[in-house]
Subunit: 205 residues, 2 copies
C-alpha cells in the first residue's frame, strides 16, 4: 500500500471548496495539542483525534506538521498591539491586559511553549520573534509618548519595562499552585492594576 505523496495530496485538493469551520477546528486542535504535549507529543494523528477529523483532512490542507502548527499559532496566539490611551498608566494597563490575555487565556500553554520550544521547531523561532517585535513596538511607542509628556525620563529602557511587565505577568501565572487557579483568574484585573502601579514607581523621573 503506497500513500499518495504530499505533493499529490495538495494537488488533489485543488479547486475543491474547503470548509472553513473544519479549518478552524483543526487549527484550534493543533494549538491545544501543542499546548498540552509540546512538540514531542505533536503529531498529525493526535491533532486529528482532538479535532474529530480524519488524518486525510489534515494532509489535504497542510503538507507538514510544522506548517500545521505554525498556522494554528498564527491564528490563535495573537501579537499585542499599541493602544494610545492618553496616559502612561492607561497605556501600560492596556498592554498588561493583552499580555494577561495571551498568557492566561485559552492559549496559555501554547503561548508559553512557543517561547520554550522555539529553537526546536523550524520556523517557530521566527514566529516568536514576530510576537516579541510586536511587544517591543508597542512598548516603544508608549515610552516615546511618556517621554514626550514628561512622565518618563529621556533614557527610559523599553526592554526593562517590557521584561518586567511581561515577565511579571508570566511569573504570576506560572507560580500559581493549581488549587488556587480559579482565585487567580478572578484576581487578574486587580493584579494588572497593582503590577502597573508598582512599575510606574520605577519609571518616576
Amino acid at each position: 500500500m503506497s500513500a499518495p505523496s504530499h505533493h499529490d495530496r495538495a494537488h488533489a485538493s485543488t479547486g475543491r471548496p474547503r470548509d472553513p469551520e473544519v479549518d478552524r477546528r483543526i487549527a484550534l486542535a493543533a494549538v491545544a495539542v501543542f499546548g498540552e504535549a509540546g512538540w514531542a507529543g505533536f503529531s498529525v494523528e493526535s491533532v486529528a483525534r482532538q479535532a474529530g477529523v480524519g488524518k486525510a483532512s489534515i494532509y489535504l490542507r497542510w503538507e507538514t506538521k510544522e506548517r500545521l502548527l505554525l498556522d494554528g499559532l498564527a491564528a490563535h496566539v495573537a501579537p499585542v498591539v499599541d493602544a494610545d490611551t492618553g496616559s502612561l498608566r492607561g497605556d501600560l494597563t492596556a498592554l498588561a491586559r493583552q499580555l494577561v490575555e495571551l498568557y492566561a487565556g485559552p492559549s496559555r500553554q501554547a503561548a508559553l511553549r512557543m517561547m520554550l520550544e522555539a529553537p526546536m521547531i523550524p520556523g517557530l523561532a521566527e514566529r516568536c520573534d514576530e510576537l516579541r517585535q510586536a511587544q517591543v513596538k508597542a512598548a516603544r511607542a508608549m515610552v516615546r509618548r511618556g517621554i514626550r509628556r514628561g512622565d518618563l525620563p529621556d533614557d527610559s529602557s523599553v526592554t526593562l519595562l517590557l521584561d518586567t511587565l511581561c515577565g511579571g505577568v508570566i511569573a504570576h501565572i506560572l507560580s500559581t499552585p493549581q488549587h488556587l487557579e480559579d482565585a487567580v483568574q478572578a484576581g487578574l484585573d486587580e493584579f494588572t492594576e497593582n503590577l502597573v502601579g508598582f512599575l510606574l514607581g520605577s519609571t518616576r523621573p
Copy 2:
C-alpha cells in the same frame, strides 16, 4: 517473555553497592531529556540512551519514571536561598543572580518546563511549590530587612517584587532570539544590575 516486576527489580538491588557516578549520570540525563522533550518525550528508554546505560540500570534504581524525573530535578534544579548582604540592592542582586543561574544555566529548559508542565506530572506541582516557597521566603526576608532599615515602605509587596524580578529574568532569557544567545549569556551580569536598579526605583518610599 515476561519482564520482572518493579518489585522484583527493586528487591534484586538490595545489598548491592550502587555506583554513585552512575546515579549522577542518570539523574543528569533525566533532567536533560525532560528539558529537551518535556513529559511527552520522557521515557526510561530515552534517559537510558542519553546516560549511556541500559534500561535495567534505571529500573534497578527507580520504580517509576515519575520518581526518576523528580529525583533528577531535586538534585539539579536548586531552590534559591536568602543572602543577607547588608543592603537591599545587594540582597536583590544576589537573588537575581540565583534566578539567572536557575533559568539561564545548564538546567534552564528543565526549570522552565517544570513550571509549565507541573499540572501534568504526579508530584511535580508539589516540587514546584517548594521552589516557589523558597523564592518567597528569600524575598520576604529581604523585604523585612529593607523595611527595618527604612529602605522600603511598610506595605511593600513581596510577591510583586518577586514576580517582576523573577519574571524579568525569565522574560529576558526567553525573549532572546537564538542567534543572540551568546551575547545575552555574556551580558547577564549587566542585565542583573540594570534590572535591580530599575526595580529599586519602584520600591522608593
